[in-house]
Symmetry: C2
Subunit: 190 residues, 2 copies
DNA sequence: GTCTATATTTCGATAGAC
DNA sequence: GTCTATCGAAATATAGAC
């Protein structure tokens, strides 16, 4: 994906990185392939050598999230979910969520585009981490009290790290992480 | 806006209600005026009698949120913010957030479209509640600990009521409200 | 207030040269 | 792998009749 310096080494990855940035800033539908190409110093047609379609670019970005959440997904699939398990998962997931902040922001801000993408892919077995979250929260065999706490704690992490996370500056990221962890712990306690 | 039965009485409001629903479901850019018109049983051109442009429709929907948050905004503008004040505000705002769930969802899912709208309106004094939230959370004179707690608590409310709130069914909304309140209280305590 | 018809623009995507 | 050139579709918006 990227080399040690964090720079993408293939054109395919460079396209994805630029697209990610623009899709977050201006939205998927609000970003034209012309803009993506211009920022890379190439023409629109060049992109079609690396990707079959605009949707194909979005799908490649979606796979980055899929990769990220696949072991978390596994931990949430066997056995039934408890508050303690949920708390442990959130705690261990927090670092990954920060380092992949952009890819999560992309999904949060382009839900409509991803849903349209899913409708076309009626083949792919998209056992998504997002779907799994919704599935657990909708599971009526769990106490409502626990489900609400899980939804709130997930929202708290997203609020502290992603949605408003850029208000805290970059220098003290690890402090923010600790504060979010403690906030979630307080929320889930009892 | 609407009569006692909750039905919009003017064509203008009917347009806004349909647009709101489609903009949430398919996104602002993903929704064409043809779709809006078709669902209303009129043609695209008819919409232009009531609104000057598609952006004008989005702006009218934005004003609904502006109206909603204007007294909350006032309470957040005088004096400096404390954790206690923040908690009280969230508590009193929670009912409004639930009853205006859709208009908040619209803003959450179409940030890019609203930002583009704001760029054109360099005249309007949009002292927005969203802006105010970000402003407070970025205020370095407040303890980082408090700011993170504020961001997390706001995220918790959005998680419990909006983002994943439809997983709990509609019957027990007041129970969910109470559970979210108590979760936020636990989070802000200490 | 709503209609038909159309102007205008922009976008995704393709063809073929290099 | 990237270019120029272009196609076809769909979108916003307008003009003018009713």
């Amino acid at each position: 994906m990227s080399n040690a310096a964090g720079q993408p080494d293939t054109m395919r990855e460079r396209i994805l990185d630029v697209a990610l940035e623009l899709f977050i800033q201006n939205g998927y539908d609000g970003t034209s392939l012309r803009e993506v190409a211009e920022r890379l110093g190439v023409t629109k047609a060049a992109l079609y050598y690396h990707f079959a379609s605009k949707d194909d670019i979005l799908m490649a970005l979606h796979l980055r999230l899929h990769e990220l959440g696949k072991d978390a997904l596994r931990r949430l699939t066997d056995g039934h979910v408890t508050l303690a398990k949920w708390g442990a998962l959130l705690d261990s997931l927090l670092d990954e969520m920060r380092s992949h902040r952009e890819i999560i922001l992309l999904h949060e801000r382009n839900q409509a585009a991803f849903e349209k993408l899913h409708r076309k892919d009626h083949d792919a077995e998209h056992e998504d981490i997002q779907d799994r979250f919704r599935q657990i929260l909708a599971d009526a065999s769990l106490p409502l009290r626990d489900r609400v706490k899980m939804a709130c704690s997930l929202g708290a992490v997203m609020g502290g790290l992603l949605m408003f996370g850029d208000a805290f500056g970059q220098a003290q990221e690890s402090q923010v992480d600790d504060l979010v962890r403690s906030a979630v712990k307080d929320l889930l306690r009892r």
